[in-house]
Point group: C2
Chain length 184, copies 2
Amino acid sequence: MRADARANRDRLLVVAGDVITEQGADASMRDIARRAGVGLATLLRHFPTREALLEALLRTSFDELTARAAEVETASSPEDALKLWLRDFVARTTDYRGVVTSMMRAIEDPESALHNSCVTMRAAGTRLLNRAQAADVARADLDGADLFALASSLAWLGDQPGLEPRAEHLFEVVMSAILTNRAS
Amino acid sequence: MRADARANRDRLLVVAGDVITEQGADASMRDIARRAGVGLATLLRHFPTREALLEALLRTSFDELTARAAEVETASSPEDALKLWLRDFVARTTDYRGVVTSMMRAIEDPESALHNSCVTMRAAGTRLLNRAQAADVARADLDGADLFALASSLAWLGDQPGLEPRAEHLFEVVMSAILTNRAS
DNA sequence: ACCTGAACACCGTTCAAGT
DNA sequence: ACCTGAACACCGTTCAAGT
């Protein structure tokens, strides 16, 4: 890639992060290009679809989540590991409003640019779930896709304007459905 | 209202119901007008915003849900009543894809045309929750807004394309978090 | 009263023309 | 190679003109 193209790409990613943080995942592509001081066609050349742009923005975050799953797996009890990781999942997914819907779409669509990052991250979560199930602290009738769906629904709740104050409480309610809480 | 205007309005509602069933809550207003054989300005004249159109479509359904709450309250045990009603809530809200997000927005915004129907319906659900709590079969640390949020998140899950097969299972998982299940 | 076409400012897509 | 302006087909909003 030519140096000026690389510079444009980097700049676009930074600006896109800002704009999407402000306006959500359905922000205007034209607006992003405008604020990057670049033609719309240039943005579309680097990221041919909105999905591709989101993919570039989220790949790092999702890869970090995958790595984080490995960390908590060795550092924490099965129950705490699952809790910590899900909290992280929700926090990161709520960073950009509306992005959880794109993620749901992407994990169902193998053609999506986001597909692989999503699948890998879900697999990491599944390992934490299975570990908790083996330790008898999580419901046995859940699989990785169920966990992913429940976590996503919590992220969706976090995206809803009036719900921030209850987000933590709702997290714990759903969490209590995932865990079996046999002790205590 | 003049007879021709009334006819247009009725016709628009029917067509809007069809189109939104097919395409979801963000269907093109122009398309709805087109399929109703009417100018776009005529649609906007009867329903000045998309919210207003959704309001007209959903008011009946929400009012029925409010009435249904009163029915199950007298006909069923506190636990069954809550279960039955929440299932109904999710089923109706999933009828038009994407509508649950509009509903969430509407209940936070007193200016919204949907606001009153939503608030009334939520209050009906709150009564069922309180009754279940009094009978000690539902978690005491939930209020009506929590219940509404959890039910909405289930409706959101039901809207996601790949999740229909797990919808019922996820409903039961979240339901188990709401109920205390002290017996059995 | 009610309806409508047209003008408007937006959107994302595409591509010929420029450097 | 890479960028860009312009044309395109869409969107919802608004309003003067028609019946």
